[in-house]
Symmetry: C2
Subunit: 164 residues, 2 copies
């Protein structure tokens, strides 16, 4: 969800700018872990509204709606670490992805017991131990990392091309 | 979680009694679907506090704590159908099972993408399509149903005996 559907970097940059008066550019962010770029990232994530008002990643709504007709889609979010995020994430999904039903939503701590054919994720910690096909979604924190055994995509248009 | 750790029948019976002035006995409930026994069950489940104040099923705390030291335990709850239940279920688990960390909690709609070695559940709809070992936890709604391919247990003492 975060970093694939929800543009959390937009939130980080906006909140960092509000706090420090400087809008970080992608070249300053690319390849650096979130916690190094944004020293107060934990505080941002725990702020009310952080998940609720995150912008949607470009083209994800249209493409996911398309794929939802051809695949059995599940939205799996490692949400448990942030207890307040659950209701915000639910409301966010209902607003922006109304075609995703409650049967298709999974909020977990770890993704290690998730068993599907394909996983799309921006974190190696989720993809590396997954048994199925893995698609790495490019985000600033992983942009310079080697792809490993994963297929890397930079946009939802590439996912559309790959899966439809 | 419900019907294995959380005693939801206790809640059903209490709320039914409050509404209709009659405390149902087990012999009136056994073998009948929840929705037939309790015509307003959906209303009860959606009431604030329903999940938060459900009693704990006997011996589940002690035995799960024991098993948590020997197994990798996940609490998987089909919570998404009831959006208000998420925060109540989180708080309930934190209170009664403080040794279960956020990494071990999964709230989902369907359990069909859950992949573990063993599943303990009171519903055939979750157990029947599961690939691992299945343990059917007896609850009034399933008490007269044939066990099928599942091992049936009536108490957490039996689970302790089986798995420790």
């Amino acid at each position: 969800m975060d970093g694939v559907l929800a543009n959390v970097y937009n939130q980080f940059i906006a909140m960092h700018a509000a706090e420090f008066g400087k809008v970080l550019k992608l070249k300053e962010i690319n390849g650096v872990p979130e916690s190094e770029v944004f020293p107060n990232v934990q505080q941002y994530i725990n702020s009310p509204g952080f998940f609720r008002y995150a912008p949607v990643i470009k083209d994800s709504q249209r493409v996911l709606k398309l794929l939802n007709e051809r695949y059995k889609i599940f939205i799996v979010s490692a949400a448990m670490e942030f207890p307040n995020s659950l209701s915000e994430k639910q409301a966010w999904l209902n607003e922006h992805f109304p075609f995703i039903t409650w049967r298709q939503i999974v909020f977990c701590g770890s993704k290690e017991i998730i068993d599907t054919d394909i996983m799309i994720d921006d974190h190696f910690k989720n993809l590396d131990f997954f048994n199925g096909e893995t698609i790495l979604f490019t985000q600033p924190h992983n942009v310079f990392a080697p792809d490993g055994n994963h297929k890397r995509v930079k946009t939802w248009l590439q996912i559309e091309e790959m899966l439809s």
